[in-house]
Symmetry: C2
Subunit: 230 residues, 2 copies
DNA sequence: CTGTATCCGTGTTGATACTG
DNA sequence: CAGTATCAACACGGATACAG
């Protein structure tokens, strides 16, 4: 009886398979369950610990997060890593292949935000806000280069904008051209043009460092796709 | 009591929401449930009827297909259309916005097929086979143009390859350069180089019309991404 | 503090049978 | 052919308890 219980837990996964050679179907085997893709999103900008993920994925419960991380690890998308002492904590990190899933987020994001149902005032994680920049960056933009720091409470990122792309990594660099210190919702309403910088500053939602002209040049590099006509 | 039951069925959907401004999360609200994305895939190359979908989506049950089609219709991704007499049948079709989801299939397909778990010998729908061509077409290929017909039993497609792209639509054109008449698994093993044309013909799995040299040029336009190193 | 395991109520999924 | 009804199995999320 005991043995049977253990056996059931380990093997004999009665998971439902699509049994389809199509790449999309296979991708869904990997991350088609609820939360999996959003966990991957939260890991796209570097390793996180369990409680970071739990906090940023509003509404996920601990047991589900454990299951999903196990599944993603099993699929070769996530690795569990123990940081060396003195940190000595465990983090979850994407594998190189996992990091290569970013275009999936970009195509899904570009497509879905055209829906009238898209509500940018809903809560947004810091990683989502950063990834949205890489998703919504304009192909044919002014060739401008700059280094930026983005502060969303605990979550701090450095962005390097050049002609080719916007690189983003965790942590702050020494002498950036621009520093945003704000919340994610205010930030994206600024970038996508629903709110003015001065308004946000007056309301105490934003502390901004850097030349206003350069900030505007940065903002002009991004644009949400047009809404669909219904 | 009766009223309550009706009310529960129509409104009061206690569906679980991510409540997240992220575009990926919104996309998952639309097609994150099991089967939804694969239904969209089957519709990508033109309208289908209920039973076509049920047959091609191996393993889906009728009630789930009904629910998913309702959901996709509600989200503005699918429309239900009644063909005029004498056909007089009902079909499901993607909206223009629905058709624009194709890049999602492409990024997911390119990413997932790099997994060692990808098994091209599993069953593959005719639409999947055709979409895989559009997914795996090489950017920097020989500038070659041709018109092809693909026959997979009932499912017949015409492809138009030019410098820019491979267009695909349902139905056969009059004088194509090449005709493939085969099953989907044989077809993709041919295109992605696991099987030779002559072997497939000898085994009776393939009937091919057209100059062999041109066929080879066609095949050379496509390539599966490299497997990940584990 | 950082997870992990278990129980439990509810909602979702799917196989079968059935109806217009 | 195009779905609906029913019911059983499973997945989800919350709470709680536990381990390092």
């Amino acid at each position: 009886m005991e043995l049977e219980k253990i056996t059931n837990k380990k093997n004999a996964k009665p998971k439902r398979w699509y049994t389809d050679a199509c790449g999309t179907a296979l991708a869904l085997e990997f991350f088609g369950e609820r939360w999996s893709l959003l966990i991957m999103r939260e890991l796209m900008l570097g390793p996180r610990r369990f409680s970071d993920l739990k906090d940023d994925l509003h509404g996920i419960s601990a047991n589900i997060l454990t299951q999903r991380l196990e599944g993603l690890e099993h699929s070769g998308i996530v690795v569990r890593r123990k940081l060396p002492p003195p940190a000595n904590i465990q983090v979850y990190e994407l594998t190189p292949w996992g990091y290569e899933a970013e275009p999936i987020f970009q195509t899904m994001g570009r497509w879905a935000t055209r829906s009238p149902a898209h509500d940018p005032m809903l809560p947004l994680s810091a990683v989502s806000a950063m990834l949205s920049l890489r998703t919504m960056i304009l192909e044919d933009r002014e060739p401008v280069s700059m280094v930026l720091v983005f502060r969303f409470g605990e979550n701090v990122f450095t962005g390097r904008l050049d002609k080719k792309e916007l690189q983003i990594e965790r942590g702050a660099v020494e002498k950036p051209d621009i520093v945003f210190d704000t919340d994610t919702t205010t930030f994206i309403t600024l970038v996508y043009g629903k709110r003015s910088i001065t308004d946000a500053e007056r309301e105490g939602r934003l502390r901004l460092t850097g030349e206003r002209e350069l900030v505007q040049k940065f903002i002009d590099c991004f644009s949400l796709p047009e809404k669909i006509i219904t």
